[in-house]
């Protein structure tokens, strides 16, 4: 989920390389719907600039809808040791953080690590969609 369709485009292609099926969304509302209607293995979320909701708040809502879904934040707004991101990681609200711009290797590493941490590897990897 990212408000920029081109970010969705890039991440979709990276994750397809892993054999994952993606659902894309460009706002919080459709992302939440995607999380409810699809059994997601993992959610990649932009953290800022969403028209309707703050990224970390959205992470909480997705986790409330499906507690088994690990969430990874992809953001250009926050930096890695940002207090808000550190707190979210510590609380288990999110399971990984990817800083824009990212290397594909980094995305794959973070996604795999988040999946194993959530022991949800059996589920197919999906990414919320609506674009």
């Amino acid at each position: 989920m990212d408000d920029d369709p081109d970010i969705c485009w890039a991440l979709e292609h990276v994750l397809r390389g892993l054999g994952a099926k993606c659902v894309l969304a460009v706002d919080g509302q459709s992302a939440l719907q995607a999380a409810r209607h699809n059994r997601l293995a993992l959610a990649l979320l932009d953290a800022k600039g969403l028209p309707d909701i703050d990224g970390l708040e959205l992470a909480g809502k997705i986790r409330a809808a499906d507690p088994d879904v690990p969430v990874v934040v992809v953001s250009g707004y926050f930096y890695r040791d940002d207090p808000a991101i550190q707190a979210a990681l510590e609380q288990g609200l999110i399971h990984g953080f990817i800083e824009k711009p990212f290397s594909h290797g980094e995305v794959i590493e973070t996604v795999k690590s988040a999946l194993s941490s959530q022991e949800a590897a059996s589920r197919a990897v999906k990414l919320s969609t609506a674009c």
């Binding site: 990212d2 408000d3 920029d4 369709p5 081109d6 970010i7 485009w9 890039a10 991440l11 292609h13 990276v14 460009v26 706002d27 800022k48 600039g49 028209p51 953001s75 250009g76 707004y77 800083e99 824009k100 711009p101 990212f102 290397s103 594909h104």
Partner: protein, 597 residues
């Protein structure tokens, strides 16, 4: 007159005058002794001794005798020894002096009633008389005072220091009273007392043979005076030690007093500017206000406040907040002003610090905004480049990746360009006369397609004649493109955009109204801030409105917003007309419906 027996003291003969004066009959007299005439208290052995003592010559003495009715008379007595019927006897001539004695008593009483110390002095500077007040104050008795020389009555030190004796002698020779002078006198065993004394000649037939030395005890008054001085001193020190500037002026504003704080802040001492006009020490921006307060203050009761810079001795100015209060006399007339000023230098410093802190905070918000906006297209380019490096791509994907690399870089460049424009929007020299209506129509053409896609109808209300302004057409066009795009973005599910232009006195008013989501009142202040955005997906950098603001400002215009949450927003741009005409007084604009919607 009577004759009494020297041995028995019995009366031997009395004349008619004695009978008349004393009230006793002749027979009663002849049955009495001389002793019985005297006041009971004076009937002593001494009296008997005196009465019996032989005298060779006439002796006079005043006695107190009691008449038959019990009243006392003062009698001067002269005795002479006589033979009477072969025996020794005294012939007594008694003279009733009661009348004179009473006057003396009255005089004594008066002297003692006077609430001042009075000494009557003769030419030898001896005390002829000292009144009760003097004796009490000096803790002396009449015995050690009356008849004594002044030097025995007053301490030598006082006499010498004050030159009292000389002063008294001068009064004897000049026969003029001295004016009051101060004398501090401490009698043994009493606290110091302060007197005002004067020396008054007692004139008797053109001859001064006595002087009155009058002393008024002013110890209490002196103490009160000192109390008042102490109080005044305390008030003065309050003013002097105040950390605020306290100045008093006369009614014209000429400086009368100037406290230490004023001296410390300005470097001027009171001596340097006493009598100078307070206005001379205000800077040009503050002087008119101060002048107004000084002239209107005379008729006002309340105090006036003003901020004005105060000139210092080294030629600089310090910001001061002043309070002018009229000073009134007992008749409630304004006689001057009390001007209290607080040095605002520290406060201004603090305000600057806050402003710096606010700027830093704003910079932080801005940095995050820039990071987010630029890192996103960078991430796209970077990602696309990584796909390209992987190789083995379909020609379509290869092309798609190359396009993403290109568009990402372009997006990032645009953001940076906008930032530069925001930071340095200067285009002063590129300004030309331009018809704002034409600029607006071009902007409308550019958004026409997008509006159609989003099912938005666009209506224009333009006046028939051109609205010439001085400006940079491309920048002005950007203002309207941004406003129109905002309007479109505010109506994702369609609506109406109305664009007005109107000439008013000296100005052209351009309005863009949408029927979109509207803006919360709490966001009114922020919408023109850079990177403040609530833009829909993929749109808006948060710079659009701040760039509009910057451009309009650069064209000496203004931009404002009016909005109702849920009902839409109206942005109004006002720009100065280049050629304002007489008839630009608010004619209703021509209403037309654009077919572009």
């Amino acid at each position: 007159m009577w004759i009494y027996d020297l041995r028995t003291l019995s009366f031997l003969a009395v004349n008619d005058a004695a009978v008349e004066r004393y009230g006793y009959s002749r027979e009663e007299f002849l049955a009495m002794t001389v002793r019985q005439l005297h006041l009971r208290a004076e009937r002593s052995a001494l009296l008997d001794g005196v009465l019996k003592s032989p005298v060779s010559s006439a002796q006079e003495r005043t006695w107190r005798h009691v008449r038959k009715d019990g009243t006392v008379i003062y009698v001067e007595v002269a005795r002479s020894a006589v033979d009477f019927a072969g025996g020794s006897a005294y012939l007594v001539i008694a003279n009733d002096v009661s009348e004179g004695k009473r006057s003396e008593l009255l005089y004594r009483m008066l002297m003692d009633t006077i609430p001042s110390s009075v000494l009557l002095l003769d030419e030898d500077l001896r005390v002829v008389l000292a009144n009760r007040n003097f004796l009490d104050k000096s803790r002396r008795t009449n015995g050690v005072t009356a008849g004594k020389r002044l030097a025995e009555v007053f301490p030598e030190v006082i006499l010498a220091e004050m030159g009292l004796e000389q002063q008294i002698r001068n009064v004897f020779t000049s026969s003029h009273a001295t004016a009051g002078q101060r004398l501090t006198y401490r009698a043994p065993g009493v606290p110091i007392r302060v007197y005002y004394y004067s020396i008054v000649p007692v004139n008797w037939g053109g001859q001064v043979d006595h002087v009155l030395f009058l002393m008024d005890d002013v110890t209490e008054q002196t103490r009160m005076g000192e109390e008042i001085r102490r109080m005044e001193g305390r008030l003065a020190s309050v003013v002097e030690s105040a950390s605020d500037i306290v100045v008093s002026t006369d009614i014209q504003g000429n400086i009368f007093t100037w406290n230490k704080a004023a001296q410390k802040i300005t470097g001027y001492s009171l001596e340097e500017l006493k009598g100078r006009s307070f206005l001379d020490y205000c800077d040009e921006s503050g002087a008119p206000g101060v002048r107004r307060l000084l002239s209107s203050g005379a008729s006002r009761e309340s105090s006036g406040r003003i901020e004005s810079n105060l000139k210092t001795k080294d030629g600089r100015f310090r910001p001061v907040s002043w309070v002018f209060s009229p000073m009134t006399d007992d008749a409630a007339r304004t006689v001057g002003f009390v001007v209290v000023g607080r040095d605002l230098t520290e406060q201004r410093k603090f305000e600057l610090q806050i402003l710096e802190a606010q700027k830093l905070a704003a910079l932080g918000v801005m940095a995050r905004g820039i990071a987010h906006e630029i890192r996103t297209p960078l991430a796209i380019s970077s990602s696309a480049a990584q796909f390209l490096m992987e190789g083995n791509l379909t020609p379509e994907f290869y092309r798609e990746c190359a396009e993403k690399v290109h568009s990402g870089i372009r997006k990032a460049s645009t953001i940076i360009e906008n930032l530069l424009r925001f930071a340095h929007p200067s285009a002063e020299k590129n300004k030309t006369p331009v018809d704002l209506l034409r600029v607006m129509r071009e902007a409308l053409t550019l958004i026409e397609n997008q509006a159609k896609v989003q099912n938005i109808e666009v209506r224009t209300h333009f006046p028939p004649e051109p609205c010439q302004v001085l400006g940079v057409p491309s920048l002005l066009e950007q203002v309207f493109i941004n406003l129109l795009l905002n309007a479109i973005n505010a109506m994702p599910s369609g609506g109406t955009i109305e664009v007005f232009a109107e000439r008013t006195a000296g100005e052209v008013l351009a309005r863009v109204t949408d029927t979109g989501e509207g803006i919360s009142p709490e966001d009114f202040d922020k919408i023109f801030d850079p990177f403040y955005t609530k833009s829909p997906p993929g749109k808006g950098t948060g710079l659009g409105l701040s760039i509009c603001y910057s451009i309009v400002d650069q064209h000496r215009g203004s931009i404002g917003v009016d909005s109702q949450k849920g009902e839409g927003s109206t942005f109004t741009v006002k720009l100065p007309l280049l050629f304002p005409t007489e008839k630009d007084s608010g004619e209703p604009p021509e209403s037309s419906r654009s077919g572009r919607g």
